[in-house]
Symmetry: C3
Subunit: 332 residues, 3 copies
Amino acid sequence: MADGHSRMNLQVNQEGRLRHLLDIAGLGSDRVVEILDTADSLLPVSQRSVKKLPLLRGKTVINLFYEPSTRTRMTFELAAKRLSADVLNLDIEHSSARKGESLIDTLRNLEAMHMDMLVVRHPESGSAHFFARHAAPHVTVLNAGDGRHAHPTQALLDVFTIRRHKPDFSKLTVTIVGDIMHSRVARSQIAALRALGTGEIRVAAPRTLLPAGMEHTGVRVFDQLEPALEGADVVITLRLQRERMQGAHLPSEAEYFRYYGLTAARMRLAQPDAIVMHPGPINRGVEISPEVADGAQSVILEQVTNGIAVRMAVMALTMGARGPAAAPGEPA
Amino acid sequence: MADGHSRMNLQVNQEGRLRHLLDIAGLGSDRVVEILDTADSLLPVSQRSVKKLPLLRGKTVINLFYEPSTRTRMTFELAAKRLSADVLNLDIEHSSARKGESLIDTLRNLEAMHMDMLVVRHPESGSAHFFARHAAPHVTVLNAGDGRHAHPTQALLDVFTIRRHKPDFSKLTVTIVGDIMHSRVARSQIAALRALGTGEIRVAAPRTLLPAGMEHTGVRVFDQLEPALEGADVVITLRLQRERMQGAHLPSEAEYFRYYGLTAARMRLAQPDAIVMHPGPINRGVEISPEVADGAQSVILEQVTNGIAVRMAVMALTMGARGPAAAPGEPA
Amino acid sequence: MADGHSRMNLQVNQEGRLRHLLDIAGLGSDRVVEILDTADSLLPVSQRSVKKLPLLRGKTVINLFYEPSTRTRMTFELAAKRLSADVLNLDIEHSSARKGESLIDTLRNLEAMHMDMLVVRHPESGSAHFFARHAAPHVTVLNAGDGRHAHPTQALLDVFTIRRHKPDFSKLTVTIVGDIMHSRVARSQIAALRALGTGEIRVAAPRTLLPAGMEHTGVRVFDQLEPALEGADVVITLRLQRERMQGAHLPSEAEYFRYYGLTAARMRLAQPDAIVMHPGPINRGVEISPEVADGAQSVILEQVTNGIAVRMAVMALTMGARGPAAAPGEPA
């Protein structure tokens, strides 16, 4: 728990307010609820004729992406712009990182430019924590996905979407289907579902895609899809990384779909009013059949909409909890 | 005409106002004139000290480019920014489209992000219509070039430029020179010139670059340049795609210039006050001689300036004719 | 001096105000001081909660980079955005320049789009002067580095940083260490230090990286580092371009560090209160030891902060000295 405690300290300031968003673990259910409540109040902004709030006016937000992800980058960029921030996209391939600059040098330089918020995606687990640990008091770090570790805004938008349909988590059975082992999304979803007291959390995957020892974490583990779907209120399918196909993990996409693809027939095992989720982009016919992806139970596009509101909420909350602006331009 | 009719319905809302801009065909001359008149009133904005109007404040414009085109993308971006919109550039090469996402999935996701306007360039003919056909009521689609089909804003800026010099189209002879067969620009220019009742429209090109059956469309077809220039009031040269050189279509750039290059000597066949146009970027010494491109009759740079005013006009008109903002974030 | 004079005319308008920033040479010490004083007044803007001034509202700034440089591009972009300008980044690799468009065509097209300011980086010496010589009266050109020639905003931020620590340049000994021969930074720094009447300017480099005849320019030349550091008040290390290693210029990075690396031991030869500078990104263990780069005497991160204030100052001053806005959209 020492680790969880230090993580919490990193994410929360002395008054208990959200400083960085790195990981759902250690965030605490009060803070998860606070983010969801704030997102509820920000959701209508994107539906207005003038989609703008002045909350981050004159602030500098840097999207620092060491892995390409158009969709995630766009939703952070839109969230920041709708809060009136100035946004700069820093793509690793064109950056001085190629010239061998270290993470700490990159951080110090961006701080010296008086950035206010760093949205970071990086292929290595722990990189967002690294940035937060070394960040100046006036800088907020948001984790947009670090290695196999965490993708907290995705998990928050997922539980936000569930809550808008099924507010009482204690009564819910939520089934997560897919590559649990390599998925930072699954890891963060489970933490968020736990923080909200979800009745039962299930995961279903081929044995080769299930991390060892998961049974001991309170999650029900299935290596077949059908029993995992029985009576489920929420079914979350994960994106299958096609790179995994090349390895020994999976025989083929067709084979995967045959045993783990979410079809209309299989969905009949779940509750009649169960909702279907997917973080996108969808591989139709691999993780999910087109009729389910586009069917009445699917809330996949709501997830995209909600993702902007949740990111706006996290930005608004963390900006209010920052330290005083430093003055690195002053001579020592 | 059924096709033209359905196209018109797609581009115009129930009150007869411009909803999308996909194609000059089916737009109707009233609407073309309305766009040009609006562009006239917006032209001074870019000449002011503060080049800003608040018309699109708080709106989200997405430049979705599946083909690279710095210049076209920039003029749309500047038009949107001068109307105070938030603009996001989505370059296909870095996007999830690489991961195999379909056009419809891309559209649905951008809609779920509450974009207001999609500016799309795509190598396949009909793709802009596809997006407009499937777009939500609150989304406007602008065609920035689809395959060999249409490039309506280019044609509108061309007729706008002509009108500022020679307002009475019925008296004009307009000659278009170059690769008519593969040119979406030529196709849209001819439609726009027709909508404005141009006296005589001529095309001149090597036989291999002339589409079959063009004689039957009311356009005068020439396979030699000189007679096509005689008495012309406006001469439009098209950009020669160098890729065509590799194929059997053309012998060489030097050969092309020898027979179809617009030189000062040839321009003496046209009216003394004829104007010379080119959509850019120019291949000097291929389609046109430097002295003509940079000479007193050239209005090529005015076309660039006018292109921003015309795009601002189309953005302003379509935004006023959209349906109500949807609320995809709401549970069903 | 005729050359210096014509340069001055290019950079300064008839009232003697800054029109373009191309080169420190010919700028005159009054104008250097004016820029530094303006930067002093703009430095607090980036430390405020709302980092915005409306000075460039409704202006269009184009970052035209023919060489990649994330850091320099970002600081210009942030400077422009904090002055409320609209900024477009034009990356050569995706631009029509690939299609063979000439510099003059690019300039004319950007002018026709009513850009107000062109920030240009180009691998060829003299390219910024070229743009300024041909620019329309309403366009300002800022040199962000041209070949081996000049990098004036870097030099200005360097002397700005020195002045904030040691205001009386006449009493200072400033030592520049590294690849003097190929460095536009060194060239501009020497000009800026001279304009401010610096007591003694020294350069230190291996003989292969020293331009011939430098002794005759009033700069003290050393081919060994230690004597060049003795009594220095300011030590500026230059970035070593690793490309040089491949050529005959240098034996190896380790060898370079052994003889020219700035270590704590060597810094003891300088004044006890000497400051250490580097334009970044740093190659630790090549030009400088980590303990010096991150030590108490280092002002390297202040340079980054100051770079934004200096660029804002140059933008603000040049915008006030432009000619009247042209009206290229008007028929001739």
